[in-house]
Symmetry: C2
Subunit: 510 residues, 2 copies
């Protein structure tokens, strides 16, 4: 190993700080890897020719009768890597297969042990319309967006992580390609493919570009934030929206091989897929097939649109990631598509000139509530004009708005009531009544009044239970116990002010 290789490996060690690096071993049990951690097997192979295209590498991981095969990837300088996320405790073995003899037939073993604190595994769909971590903990989705944070100054990236650590958000939408758009007219520090002038060399990847993304995804993982990785987008001046089909396919397989072992990964096939004018529906179907075939860990998958709503009933979508400010459609869409609905983009809190980027904090908060009371989810973003031209929605950095505090308040209520009454939130269409939702076991029922301000309200509660009640001002962020107990068609006295919500908790439950 020459000096350059050493440097490279040491930078990789930083990049994948939480990824145990495994070597070949036949020792019984081998090294220990925590359940749902990403392990990495570096292998030295040929650097001759074009390893990105010429060399095939897969590894099959076995546990009892199970066998999961992942692709390895070339990381430059003769180093190949295989990554894997074991999902079951016990002894696993692995074997490689390659057309490069130096990489072929390597084997090893490791023991998957209990996850460390804070490692709850990947998120998947739970109870049809909701999400949960693999360890059983419910995941109350609460996302935000920093499309191009990966391509900003290092200082801004550090700020973004620090901000997210304090913020109520547990999912981040981010682009895999650099972004060219209003407020985003800079060249990125690196390119995903070698680039000379205006010409991309699509036959090679730039490992450093992807190593940087490795690092950011792992950083998000360590602070409990899911990385909703956007694979294609139309805000492009470099050509990435119109690569040849075989490059698209190679790119997807490379990305899957690199990133899919990260438990906090979600796939978003595209942002505004319908604005990618060079791609056909057949193209999209082919991308879907690649993600389904090569992602051994079955991460969450969706796609985001601009004008033409995607057919979210399709089987490959694990959930809908809509762009819409029609929050009143939530219950209908949820029922139609029979899967979780996330309003990933419902417009952003801010004051820029574009209508999608200038709703006020209370309206943003209101949309989160409208989504929640219909058993769906909403997404945050922020676009305040700033002297430094750093806008959270794209660059990350710091938050300036007033909605995150109010969204945190809602998230706390939702998570708190899971403790009282676990189970999904079901939407109740109450006709002339305010919108209401409840936990499946009827232990928690809540109503949201929006711009309505009843002074007295009849609220239909599930039969057979007695409830205590709390009045919540969703904008003033106050919680006030209401006197007495409630059951059946309950008459509830309210302050007669708008933006209220009432939360009922069944007595004797938890």
């Amino acid at each position: 190993m020459n000096r350059r290789d050493l440097l490279k490996l040491s930078s990789m060690a930083v990049a994948a700080a939480a990824a145990p690096v495994l070597g070949e071993t036949s020792a019984e049990g081998g090294p220990e890897v925590a359940r749902w951690d990403a392990l990495e097997i570096p292998l030295r192979g040929t650097a001759a020719g074009n390893p990105f295209i010429d060399v095939s590498l897969t590894a099959t991981f076995r546990m009892k009768n199970r066998a999961l095969t992942v692709e390895g990837f070339y990381d430059g300088d003769g180093v190949y890597k295989v990554r894997f996320m074991p999902d079951e405790e016990g002894v696993w073995t692995w074997t490689t297969k390659s057309n490069d003899k130096a990489l072929d037939g390597k084997t090893g073993t490791f023991t998957c042990v209990a996850p460390q604190a804070g490692n709850r595994g990947p998120v998947s769909v739970r109870d049809d319309y909701h999400f949960g971590y693999a360890d059983g903990t419910p995941y109350v989705e609460c996302g935000t967006t920093c499309y191009a944070w990966a391509f900003q100054a290092e200082k801004t990236q550090r700020q973004t992580v620090a901000t997210l650590k304090q913020a109520p958000f547990n999912k981040l939408r981010m682009c895999l390609f650099p972004k060219w758009y209003q407020y985003n007219r800079n060249e990125p520090p690196m390119y995903p493919f070698p680039r000379t002038g205006e010409v991309n060399d699509y036959s090679h990847f730039n490992p450093a570009y992807f190593q940087h993304l490795d690092k950011l995804i792992v950083e998000l993982r360590e602070i409990g934030v899911e990385a909703d990785l956007i694979l294609f987008h139309p805000y492009d001046k470099w050509g990435y929206q119109q690569m040849p089909p075989e490059v698209d396919a190679r790119y997807l397989r490379y990305v899957i091989a690199r990133f899919s072992a990260y438990r906090n990964l979600w796939w978003s096939l595209a942002n505004e897929y319908d604005l990618l004018k060079y791609k056909t529906n057949t193209d999209w179907d082919s991308y879907v097939r690649i993600v389904e075939e090569y992602d051994a860990f079955d991460h969450l998958r969706s796609i985001h649109y601009s004008r033409h709503q995607y057919e979210y009933w399709r089987g490959w979508c694990t959930h809908a990631g809509v762009q819409s400010s029609q929050l009143e459609k939530a219950a209908e869409w949820r029922a139609d598509w029979r899967k979780p609905v996330i309003y990933d983009e419902c417009q952003y809190e801010g004051n820029i000139a574009s209508r999608w980027g200038n709703i006020n904090a209370d309206e943003m908060t209101r949309r989160f509530w409208l989504a929640a009371v219909q058993g769906t989810y909403c997404g945050h973003g922020e676009t305040y004009v700033s002297p430094d031209d750093i806008l959270w929605w794209s660059h990350g950095g710091v938050l300036h708005g007033k909605s995150p505090e109010k969204i945190a308040f809602l998230r706390k209520l939702l998570e708190e009531t899971i403790a009282v009454g676990p189970g999904p939130i079901g939407f109740s269409s109450m006709g002339d009544n305010p919108m209401g939702a409840k936990r499946a076991n009827d232990a928690v029922v809540f109503f949201y009044f929006d711009a309505h301000q009843p002074a007295l309200q009849t609220l239909a509660l599930p039969e057979g239970k007695t409830y205590t009640a709390e009045y919540v001002d969703t904008l003033a962020l106050t919680r006030t116990p209401l006197p007495g107990e409630y059951s059946g068609k309950a008459e509830v006295r309210l302050p007669g002010t708008p933006w209220g919500s009432v939360w009922f908790r069944a007595k004797g439950v938890a």
Copy 2:
């Protein structure tokens, strides 16, 4: 004439204070009647048998080659009346026709003279989507609702008129039948038909009941308020929603004969027609035909629904009178139906338990703005819980809410800009831009930002004109001139707060 008759006639004189009473005359020119005033011809005929059914009476009014025929009606005690609203200045003659010899072949003449101040004639549709008075003055519709004000205590009725005199509203939706509903559980002081116990005598009308309505409609006329008379409604315990078909028809013809000479009259076939479960679509079609055939003055006509939206594209509807809180549909519906759209019921400002009756003042105001910027109209109503159980929406009385002041502010803006740039308001679908509307001659253009709060906004102005601009806070009710002049794709600096609107006025116009 006995004492009872004298009393009766004197009360009628009060009832129709502004209606010139004409007798038979052949004097050249005869008495003078102001254009668009209701004249009344009382005739003495038989009181024997059942004049309501047995006696037919029509009068034909002639002016040059025109001939308009109206039905007369029996007003009790042997008195029959013919009412007419002349719409053209000059000499008119009239002749009656009846199966009662005492009423047949009566003739007279009168001279229609210029209208007095404040008499602008009836309202009709203007510029496809808007309204105007017959004298050419634009009518910026701004309605409210007091369904059952005609059946409240005299003191409340006086309050209602006094309130309306100060309020920004120029149309009142009111029921012709008494109302039985929440907050409305009283017997009316009178019934439209003689009633014994629970039994209605549908073969007779109760003239006093209708004389009282005469009086109220005229009172509204004198303060410049259009009376949007609701002919049927389902909030009924007395049987009026399920009368035999021939009674429905007789009732409609009676009402038309009595009221159609009032220039401030609009017909609303029903409130929540689809909740009138005893009536079929064929029934409704037959009512439409009666109104069209017997109303010689072609008053505005519409119908109001609950769940099943009426087919407002139908020819007989002069405008749509919708019940909906989907203000975002306004432009679409307007374009579909190609006629004026009024959100007669978009929910009410208040705090009662019913969702339709507890939106806050700012939300009510917002709905007026959303309607206005789409070139449509919105309606007000108020339902605040009150110790006296008098709620404006049904009883009238006084207003408690905060939206009327804000609605007045909008109405003033709309009317003011008619002076600057007369012509209809056209809606501009601006894609990603805020909703905007403009006068047809491009003299006035305005945008409404709703919950959006741009600090800087590009607003596309019609080509070839230069504008000055004013920033309007639609809730704080402030108007602030913006510096400079604007044209083309104008960059406008704004306060970055929500609920704003910008009004552009073309330089050199008015």
